[in-house]
């Protein structure tokens, strides 16, 4: 039982391919995040699920039933849009009540359901207002209430937080997570923000150019990125990756080299997360010196941009660490367990 996209392909009339045979299956009750940069096909995939867009090939199943040809209203899903898409000519109450009215619920049942969901989303004081009189955060709460009020099995959200300012985004993010826990519905959430994805998802599907790069729990996405692309997309700042060559137990990049122990020789891509690099006080046999270029305090941490050949190596350390000035030489150490290896051609993860 669950939702399955099978070989979904979408070609637009102008010839661009938004999805190249996407396969994605998940269980009811999950919080699925579709993550990717713009043009990755994440929104298209979400619209396919909703029935607002029709796949050029492939099928969509819900609980074993093929729904590929079903219009949106028969799929049992609610949806929240980035720009809220509230009905400007109706009051907030009527906006939330609309899915119930369309589905011919009784009047007293409509009232109690709207009240209940409004209480859950803390928008009761605004029920009599018009959408134009709401702030962005309130408007998006109304949109979430409208999507959930009739208790659909699945709730789709297409970048629902992207139009909100930073503080509201954090608040609403937490509320969505709480809502998911309390309602135990399936949420499918589209975003380009890896932090939202990491905090919200039970599983994250990372998309790139219409292809699925990785579909796993956030923990695995972070710790074992399936490709160089995922590695460079997840984390703040993202993973350092360097093209180079392994020779005699050392990884040689232009301008610097680091001991990496026993690895097969040949070209490779080395990745290491900024927070896992160690800054050591003096040269040891597994540390190597680099020149500090810029320091960016992001309290309580600090970001060090070290000159590594013609690239920058970013280190995230504690702000209380060694004080160093631009131009100073610092010694860095790459713990062996923190190293990731990728194929220099395909970008796929190497063991």
């Amino acid at each position: 039982m669950g939702v399955a996209l099978r070989g979904i392909r979408r070609t637009f009339p102008d010839g661009t391919v938004a999805l190249h045979g996407l396969d994605l299956a998940f269980e009811q009750g999950e919080f699925i995040v579709l993550l990717g940069p713009s043009g990755s096909g994440k929104t298209t995939a979400c619209r396919m699920l909703a029935g607002l867009d029709v796949p050029s090939a492939g099928s969509i199943e819900i609980d074993g039933r093929d729904v590929t040809a079903l219009p949106p209203r028969l799929r049992g899903m609610g949806m929240v849009f980035q720009n809220y898409a509230l009905y400007a000519h109706k009051s907030v109450f009527e906006n939330i009540a609309y899915p119930l009215r369309v589905r011919k619920f009784a009047a007293d049942s409509i009232r109690s359901k709207v009240q209940a969901i409004a209480a859950l989303l803390r928008i009761e004081p605004y029920l009599h207002r018009r959408p134009a009189e709401l702030s962005g955060g309130q408007a998006q709460r109304v949109a979430v209430a409208r999507a959930l009020v009739w208790e659909p099995a699945i709730c789709l959200m297409d970048e629902p937080l992207s139009n909100l300012d930073a503080l509201l985004r954090l608040q609403l993010r937490t509320e969505l997570k709480r809502l998911h826990r309390d309602l135990s519905k399936t949420f499918v959430f589209v975003t380009h923000d890896q932090e939202e994805a990491m905090t919200l998802g039970t599983r994250i599907a990372v998309l790139r150019d219409g292809r699925l790069e990785q579909f796993e729990a956030p923990r695995n996405i972070y710790r074992k990125p399936a490709s160089r692309f995922v590695a460079e997309f997840i984390g703040r700042p993202a993973m350092n990756t360097f093209d180079g060559e392994v020779r005699d137990g050392r990884f040689h990049a232009p301008g610097w080299a680091v001991p990496v122990g026993d690895r097969p020789a040949g070209p490779a891509v080395l990745g290491i997360r900024p927070e896992q690099i160690e800054i050591v006080s003096a040269a040891t046999d597994d540390a190597f010196p680099l020149v500090l270029d810029v320091c960016e305090p992001v309290e309580p941490d600090i970001l060090w941009f070290l000159r590594a050949g013609d690239r920058s190596l970013i280190v995230r350390g504690s702000g209380d660490d060694i004080t160093a000035e631009s131009g100073d030489t610092v010694h860095v150490r790459f713990p062996r367990v923190a190293l990731h290896w990728f194929d220099p051609v395909t970008g796929a993860r190497l063991p």
Partner: protein
């Protein structure tokens, strides 16, 4: 006196002149409708005269022009409704759907208004004669719909395009079909634009003379066609012409006030969307 105050006076003067130029003929028309034949034909036109009510009953009851008012209302009302019923869904498709030749087809609607109206008068006459609709209200209604349709399609496409596509999609997710989303959510949101368009259609149809004259010279004739009937071999019945013209103008005055309000709302419609 500051420069801006001076400019304001100039502006007021220009405005006043424009109002005088626009209103004087109507004022004169209104006065003429209350004048006797002697006063009308007097070599010294007078602002002050002994008014008569005789022209109105003479033409509307004596000459049985009252049904013509009904004809005018029927033609303008029905052609407006028909144009909206066909044109609004067409405009919606033009605003939302992408299909080959969309812009060409859209432009085609405009080209139907480019030729002088007289150029299709003969084909229209032959068509309605052949279908037996000549000299009926239907002929005029259809003819007026044919030119109002392009107006509706062109105006309403813009209004629909101003409504975010997500509104339709939200309505579909809320349980509506595509048609249901259009009728239940998009049309109410486009109501100001719809009203503005309707009023313009009504005025164009109400004032139209050529097709009405050619297609319904007798039974189905509206007020505009009735006026030349007052030019008799014994002379033009100016008082009655004026009376008909005043009555024919009144609905337009009312609608002009409506269009003013709705056009402003219609033009600022973009500000309404969420």
């Amino acid at each position: 006196m500051t420069a801006s105050a001076a400019w304001r006076r100039v502006a007021w003067a220009i405005l006043a002149a424009a109002v005088v130029i626009a209103v004087t003929p109507y004022l004169w028309l209104l006065l003429t409708s209350f004048k006797t034949r002697v006063d009308i034909l007097s070599p010294q036109p007078a602002w002050r005269f002994a008014p008569t009510w005789a022209n109105y009953p003479a033409v509307f009851i004596g000459k049985e022009y009252l049904p013509l008012l009904w004809n005018s209302l029927s033609i303008a009302g029905c052609s407006t409704l028909l144009s909206l019923a066909i044109g609004a869904p067409a405009a919606y498709v033009f605003a939302r759907e992408r299909f080959p030749g969309r812009e060409d087809l859209f432009f085609f609607f405009l080209t139907t208004r480019m030729a002088p109206p007289i150029s299709i008068a003969v084909p229209l006459f032959l068509f309605f004669t052949a279908t037996g609709m000549i000299d009926t209200l239907y002929a005029v209604i259809i003819a007026h719909t044919s030119f109002n349709l392009s107006l509706v399609v062109w105006m309403m496409r813009g209004f629909f395009a101003d409504i975010p596509r997500e509104i339709d999609e939200a309505a579909q997710m809320d349980g509506r079909s595509r048609l249901g989303a259009f009728v239940g959510v998009v049309l109410p949101l486009a109501a100001p634009g719809l009203a503005a368009t309707a009023v313009l259609c009504f005025i164009l149809s109400w004032n139209e003379f050529l097709y009405a004259f050619l297609l319904a010279a007798f039974e189905g004739r509206p007020l505009t066609v009735g006026i030349p009937g007052l030019v008799t071999p014994h002379g033009t019945l100016w008082g009655q012409v004026a009376a008909v013209a005043v009555v024919a103008t009144l609905p337009i005055v009312v609608f002009a006030m409506l269009v003013q309000r709705h056009l402003v709302r219609g033009l600022t419609f973009g500000a309404v969307k969420a």
